[in-house]
């Protein structure tokens, strides 16, 4: 079963809601009652077309203000794939929402209005997808109907965007450009006769060709212990299983492993998924391991393959995306959560802050505000076992939790 998570990004009115509604409609994912609601609503507003953006509009308060302000999840499926779209609209808390949406996604769609081309927001979208190392980016150049489906317009925007990618921190990222009209349905699910110069796949065809399983092999195996299973029943009196999720690579029964923080070595005896022993567990699977030796691990410990140890750090350099209304000050203390491991931490310094237009400039004046991104240094009460995010997308991130409000205040990407 294939599940593809996609984040969407676009400036207001670029047609993001319309595109998502169009995808739902053209894949037959809208039920009759939902379609009827859209029909009625479109009619009430006096439109002579179906306003598919209504398919995704959310909370009452937001609807009243005519804006959406958070991350919404939308689902549709084809014969081969279940799609989950993390729609990250919103104006005020834009960066925060986009980072959140992109963090759970394997692919991103960046929308550009063909009449406007690359705008300041596009920098931000591109920057965030680069920072998070989203593997597949689709640049959908929308509203082609308003520029007469002109190839030159498309090529011009593509060239301007490619200019941006030259400074990308993530050159391996795959970027695909597509001309579409979300409103009229050209090249979204169905090919368009009005784009004779375009010979590539439609948006959906392109998405169908992506292989999410291939995105999860990102480095050495990391297995944080989530929970220890000790049934102490008549059938399993001495069973001690380590429940957790496999990150990065594939783990096999019989693998020689090292346990952190103890540094002890052992071998994987069995890998269980429910009552079935597995030969191997692939990245993303939630399994239960037993070890050859009777060693007592607890939540927050990590199992890795022998010879593939991550770094043990009590000081970290990281790129932080600040998500709290209360600004970050140097010296502030937080609970740092890295997988199942929580440690106390202190931000010792804020080295630099990215300028808010994401053009690449920086400044450093001590604070970090909501939606700002900066480089910081942290000091930790205990060691954490990490990899740099650019080398290991699954073991290089953490969140900071405010000890007073308990809110998630930031996400960090380890340098």
């Amino acid at each position: 079963m294939k599940v593809l998570k996609i984040a969407t990004a676009g400036s207001v009115d670029d047609g993001k809601s319309t595109l998502i509604g169009r995808l739902l409609h053209d894949t037959g994912s809208l039920a009759e009652d939902q379609l009827e609601a859209i029909r009625q609503s479109s009619e009430r507003k006096g439109y002579d077309y179906l306003d598919f953006s209504l398919a995704t509009d959310g909370l009452v308060a937001e609807r009243e203000q005519g804006i959406t302000i958070d991350v919404a999840h939308i689902y549709f499926s084809t014969q081969t794939t279940s799609y989950i779209i993390a729609d990250t609209p919103g104006h005020v808390e834009y960066t925060r929402n986009m980072v959140t949406g992109a963090s759970t996604s394997q692919a991103a769609i960046i929308l550009i209005d063909a009449r406007k081309g690359v705008v300041e927001q596009t920098y931000r979208h591109f920057f965030i997808n680069g920072l998070l190392r989203v593997r597949e980016v689709v640049v959908a150049i929308n509203k082609m109907d308003l520029v007469d489906f002109d190839q030159e317009v498309f090529e011009g925007i593509k060239a301007a965007f490619e200019e941006l990618t030259r400074k990308s921190p993530f050159p391996e990222q795959r970027i695909t450009f597509l001309p579409i009209s979300a409103l009229q349905g050209d090249n979204v699910v169905h090919p368009s006769g009005r784009l004779p110069w375009y010979t590539g796949p439609t948006l959906l065809e392109h998405l169908e060709s992506l292989d999410p399983a291939g995105f999860t092999e990102t480095g050495p195996v990391r297995f944080p212990v989530q929970w220890v299973i000790r049934p102490k029943t008549a059938d399993f009196p001495d069973f001690r299983g380590y429940a957790g999720k496999v990150y990065g690579g594939t783990l096999k029964a019989g693998d020689a492993v090292m346990l952190l923080p103890s540094g002890n070595c052992s071998k994987i005896r069995d890998i269980f998924f429910f009552d079935a022993p597995l030969e191997a567990a692939t990245p993303g699977s939630s399994v239960t391991l037993t070890l050859e030796d009777d060693l007592q691990l607890s939540r927050g410990d990590m199992i890795v393959k022998l010879g593939e140890a991550p770094r043990a750090e009590r000081e970290l350099s990281a790129t932080l995306c600040w998500m709290d209304h209360k600004p970050l000050k140097e010296g502030a203390r937080f609970t740092l959560q890295h997988h199942a491991h929580k440690v106390l931490s202190r931000v010792t310094s804020i080295e630099s802050r990215l300028s808010t237009d994401f053009s690449g400039g920086t400044s450093a004046d001590g604070g970090l505000h909501l939606n700002e991104v900066g480089e910081v240094r942290l000091e930790l009460a205990r060691e954490v076992y990490t990899d740099p995010y650019r080398e290991h997308r699954e073991n290089g991130f953490f969140i900071l939790i405010d000890p007073l409000t308990r809110h998630t205040a930031a996400v960090g990407f380890i340098s």
């Binding site: 599940v3 039920a31 939902q34 959310g58 991350v71 939308i74 759970t104 699977s285 939630s286």
Partner: protein
């Protein structure tokens, strides 16, 4: 491998690790039955390390209650049942009257009282984001205050798979492990795992009447019915099996899982379309959620 199944197991394990007194809110419907199956898998060969809680409106289908009791017994699970009737008797809530009278909204008081009684800090539920527009923004860990209220401000960004379960005294978290599943995916999983379901989900003959274009189960005096609303025996099944007063039946001859799945694939009506309650107002769910509804 089914990534959604693995994701749900991961979430359930986070719950037991991060909270002291979790509970699974069990409605007897297919989504909560699926959750029980996932919990079995998550903690095998150990037992499911939390009880089930059912808030009985007093208007549940008898088939659902029988199924509930059997499931809990077979798996050796602790089952807690609390009754909306008790809150009515104590004068804490007032029974609705009239054509659309339902105890669905009254459940909230009983639920909150039960959460307080047992000091539950995490309530696991089977809601899915595809069910309805306002659910689309729901978090996997959804923080509620002591009044059960959901507030946009309390909601934390969920980055990667990191779940922040830190709460203040009096707060609790509603947890939705199958957030990312769709109705069809739940059904396919039920088929794959050969999970038993209450008979209501399959076509059977039942006395029903038509109101507002929906099929209501005729069950006097629980479901209000006027004299003009004539009862007829029809072949029906239910897509959701909540309280009788807010669950509509659909005409169907689908008697097996394969037939049900085929029907859902072709269906042009959303699951919500068969929930009487939501017909009352488009924004009904969202308002209820603000007031602590599950």
């Amino acid at each position: 491998m089914n990534p959604l199944e693995h994701e749900a197991i991961y979430i359930l394990r986070e719950v037991v690790a991060q909270f002291e007194r979790p509970v699974l809110l069990f409605s007897g419907g297919k989504d909560s039955i699926t959750l029980v199956r996932l919990a079995q898998k998550a903690f095998y060969p150990g037992r499911i390390p939390f009880p089930l809680l059912h808030i009985d409106t007093g208007h549940n289908f008898p088939e659902t209650l029988a199924f509930r009791d059997r499931l809990a017994e077979e798996l050796g699970l602790r089952l807690i049942v609390r009754h909306v009737q008790d809150a009515i008797d104590q004068g804490k809530v007032v029974e609705e009257t009239g054509k659309y009278a339902s105890r669905n909204a009254l459940q909230t008081t009983t639920l909150l009282d039960t959460i307080a009684e047992f000091r539950f800090d995490a309530c696991i539920g089977g809601a899915r984001r595809d069910e309805e527009k306002s659910r689309a923004k729901e978090r996997i860990f959804s923080v509620r205050d002591a009044f059960g209220q959901w507030g946009q401000r309390n909601q934390r960004p969920e980055l990667f798979d990191l779940l922040n379960g830190e709460i203040e005294h009096g707060q609790n978290v509603r947890v939705f492990p199958i957030s990312n599943w769709t109705e069809l995916e739940v059904w396919k999983y039920i088929r794959q795992e050969k999970i038993a379901l209450p008979s209501l989900y399959f076509a059977h003959q039942r006395p029903t009447f038509v109101r507002d274009g929906l099929l209501w189960a005729a069950s006097d005096p629980i479901v209000y019915r006027s004299l003009e609303e004539a009862v007829e025996n029809r072949w029906v099944r239910f897509r959701t099996v909540g309280d009788m007063t807010c669950t509509a039946a659909v005409l169907s001859r689908a008697e097996t899982l394969d037939e049900v799945i085929a029907e859902i694939r072709q269906s042009r009506i959303s699951e919500r379309g068969a929930r009487i309650d939501d017909k009352r107002s488009e924004a009904a769910m969202e308002r209820r959620k603000e007031q602590g509804y599950f």
